[in-house]
Symmetry: C2
Subunit: 537 residues, 2 copies
């Protein structure tokens, strides 16, 4: 129960958490790090190399042929075995032995680059077959148990990387409370090493990245790839804008509140009002108010706000309901902050190049790399940019350069696939892949809701997408699901009783008949959700 | 000037900044990314492979022999050229060609792993030979100019990583205002790939790392290496403690304030008082107050605090003056937070295993990886640990997993060198290296102060170090330098006039006759500083 509640309260700043506790917690499992085999399996590596796409680098280090089998016959000039072989027959034998050694020794020694593509299945199996008690130290010992029977590959010996939420089974609690974007893992596995990054031990140790830039802790390469991607997609203007980097767009949201609020001794001492139109993202009130800042304070629904001085948060496409939005307030002493986390082609048609004063984006929702903790802001005004930078300096003395460089590599891979498409298939183009997945998932969801008969969903809308050059529908990252059964006033509780975790509409300033459901989880979890939903009456 | 002032205000939350502006800014330079050659040089790669230590993995992928040269002769059975060669002579030719291909193609295709050891010299040269105007876009175009005459290796094409502050010359402004720990770069270059990390494109995309842990966004491998390192060094107890990770210890400091302050509607509505004994770290007041939180507020010097309810910050060894400290206040409703950022063998003898309720550490000062933005807290109380975790969830939805995994690898390399020392020389043992450097630097500084005659420094102290098993002196990461000339009341201004940037004692709640000087910068900057200091009269 504690684990359930913790999942319900984690992420997106939902500190109010899920209410009640009607569902038993899932059997605790060791979070087996990532299911990678602890020693490379040569046959699998051969298969991986073949499936790894056409990218050079690591894939090219693994020749695609299998080791030759069969015997080596020493034939003499006369064709009869047994006679003493001339020198160059012996040389042939030696040469073939050398061929075999050169071919195979990377597999013996290549502990730094374990195979990729089989990991998902192995991870699933590992999670299913390593149940454990609630012993927290089991995570450490479990890793050792799972791994140390064989030598631990170098890249993992620092502790194998985690793999997110535990795997699901048909009877699991399905947790779609958070927008954990693990749907994109499949895409990135398919790109081979296009988005892989190597970080030497001595690299980017300094606090400073670019002392000549307003955002002095921002890696120039990240700046470059952000601008490049926006020019490619056409979803936001970048010329004349400062790019700022943050530890997720959440940090940049706080930075914007700080930058746009007057000093505490002005405005009659009253904190700046922060508003947004309901249903608004549940984190907005939570993040605005958790420190009880004297500079800014949540003031609720923008539709009912009376006053001239405010910060209006405009999220478009909106979280939770996916609608396309504009600011509703207008005043010389008010300012809008535009959260465009979902303004990407996989979720919505790109209808115009946004050019607001402050625009927030995040890799979490564009590429799916939530664990990297990188967001960025496009800011017109230099003084606002400087104050936002100052916030991040005081909060965390800048932003991880490792994350920035990884994000830059990921963004580069996205842009490369569109700008240099030779040899790349559709599944290496992020927005094509993402759109296809979202269309599929919304179709499955609408079908399940229709089968069930007790749920309704927002109408699908469409518009011409300037990026895809065709009319495209909206396929939001969250489903704003309403339970229409008259006797169900609290949809989140109702669904929790069926082992589906969602986030109640009440957390978004809306009716608790609504819930927000993540559309971005892994296929296995989503499939179980849809199936279970369709059975509800 | 703006660049100077920005450097003066950046980092360590010193938003008050350097005053005045008597020193012209340094010639702006392109921050040439890192001087790596843009295409692998085979001869250098051969040298690198030989010099890269005994670690397997990447080094093993580069055979150490040069490609065979010379011709292939097709000899016939009778020794006369020209006759039609039997099948197996042709087979020998084919086999030899295959050998050559297998041998060489990693060099042609291995764009993901450029050589390591020549980079330092090339970086230095690149920085010194690429001066640039103040054109901010020069960073981008400079990278292109420097790199794109040759194909850009894959790992760098995302934008070469930054290299910190610009290089210095004998006439440069020397900026020792911040504790930028680039002194440690030399050490880490010398460890080859022991601390190198490879991050595949699909890895750690989820928000979640370990749903069974209080700190659900913490990588288990990081947790493991933190505990291991503390057990090795003996500087802090870990059994019975929760480990929490943060985006630097700065974030964990804020998290502790949040966790230890009662809700705003208690305590008569008064925010919790936050105190520390002067001279205290300049960031403490800045970070405590910048959001004007209703939960906590800076209340100055602990020595003059009257009251029973407080949070006392105890930094030991202290920043700025290096003294060993304990809490000065004692009350049932007060609590101490211990900032042990400098409690490592390179700075001070390890005299006991610290076991306070809350202890903060950071990789920035232990290993030198400030750009990675990783700190950790050891916390006894579970509820405090949960509230600190909640702070980080609301602030940044967790901590970069890329940074955590890199930090884990770095910490692992530190521990490995002590626990598995076979084949490793002293220069691969971090604390031995660090201690040697700090002893040298303090010796140089004391000599320079003596030569100058107008400065004084804290007395050296020593004690038995349980880690080194010998008596060791204190060699703090900052020099708390006092100007003794009667006509100099503001030492920071005086030194600025001599193109040395330091941080005024007034920012630490102390007399402006004192300044804090970083002892952790690169050799070139430090050497110029010491030389210049010794000349001042």
């Amino acid at each position: 129960m504690a684990a359930l509640r913790r999942l319900g309260t984690a992420v997106d700043g939902n500190f109010q958490g899920a209410t009640g506790g009607m569902v038993p917690p899932p059997s605790p499992r060791i979070l087996t790090p990532n299911g990678r085999p602890s020693a490379p399996n040569r046959r699998e590596e051969g298969a991986v190399a073949n499936g790894g796409g056409s990218s050079p680098g690591l894939a090219a280090l693994r020749p695609t042929k299998k080791a030759p089998r069969g015997k080596v016959y020493l034939a003499t000039a006369g064709g009869k075995p047994g006679k003493r072989a001339p020198f160059w027959q012996a040389a042939l034998v030696v040469s073939i032995v050398l061929n075999i050694w050169l071919f195979l020794h990377p597999y013996v020694n290549d502990t730094a680059h374990p195979p990729h593509h089989h990991l998902q299945q192995e991870h699933q199996e590992a999670c299913l077959t390593h149940p454990d008690a609630a012993d927290r130290s089991a995570v450490d010992s479990g890793r050792r148990r799972a791994r140390l029977e064989e030598p631990v590959p170098k890249a993992w010996a620092a502790g194998a990387p985690s793999t997110g939420k535990p795997a699901v089974t048909p009877d699991s609690v399905i947790n779609l409370d958070h927008g954990d974007p693990t749907m994109f893992e499949e895409f990135w596995r398919g790109t081979g090493d296009a988005a892989e990054i190597v970080i030497p031990g001595w690299q980017t140790m300094s606090y400073f990245s670019d002392v000549g830039n307003v955002c002095w802790f921002m890696e120039p390469g990240f700046n470059h790839e952000v601008r490049r991607l926006h020019r490619l997609v056409g979803n936001a203007a970048v010329d004349g804008y400062h790019v700022l980097v943050g530890t997720g767009s959440t940090q940049l949201f706080m930075a914007a509140l700080y930058a746009l609020s007057p000093p505490a001794d002005t405005n009659g001492g009253a904190p700046m009002s922060v508003v947004s139109t309901a249903p608004y993202y549940s984190s907005y009130p939570a993040v605005t108010d958790f420190l009880q800042s004297g500079l800014f304070r949540w003031a609720g629904d923008a539709n009912s706000f009376k006053g001239d001085t405010y910060i209006e948060l405009v999220c478009s496409p909106n979280n939770p309901d996916g609608t396309i939005r504009e600011a509703v307030l207008s005043s010389d002493s008010g300012i809008a902050v535009h959260d465009l986390a979902y303004y990407w082609p996989q979720y919505t048609p790109i209808t115009k190049r946004a050019d607001h004063d402050i625009m927030l984006f995040t890799v979490s929702k564009s590429t799916g790399h939530a664990g990297t903790r990188i967001g960025w802001a496009l800011v017109k005004d230099r003084d606002v940019a400087k104050k936002m930078t100052k916030f991040i300096e005081l909060n965390t003395i800048g932003v991880s350069k490792d994350s920035q460089l990884r994000a830059a590599k990921v963004l580069k891979a996205v842009s490369d696939a569109y700008e240099m498409p030779e040899g790349k298939e559709e599944q290496h183009r992020l927005f094509d892949y993402g759109r296809r997945k979202m269309v599929e998932r919304w179709s499955m969801l609408r079908e399940a809701a229709a089968t069930s008969g007790i749920f309704s969903l927002p109408e699908e809308t469409s518009a011409y997408c300037n990026f895809a050059n065709e009319t495209a529908s909206t396929n939001p990252a969250f489903a704003w699901l309403r339970c229409d059964r008259e006797d169900v006033e609290d949809c989140a509780s109702f669904l929790r009783g069926h082992k589906i975790l969602t986030r109640s509409g009440s957390q978004f300033g809306a009716d608790p008949r609504y819930v927000r459901v993540s559309m971005l989880d892994r296929d296995d979890a989503y499939d179980i959700f849809v199936k279970r939903l369709s059975s509800l009456k």
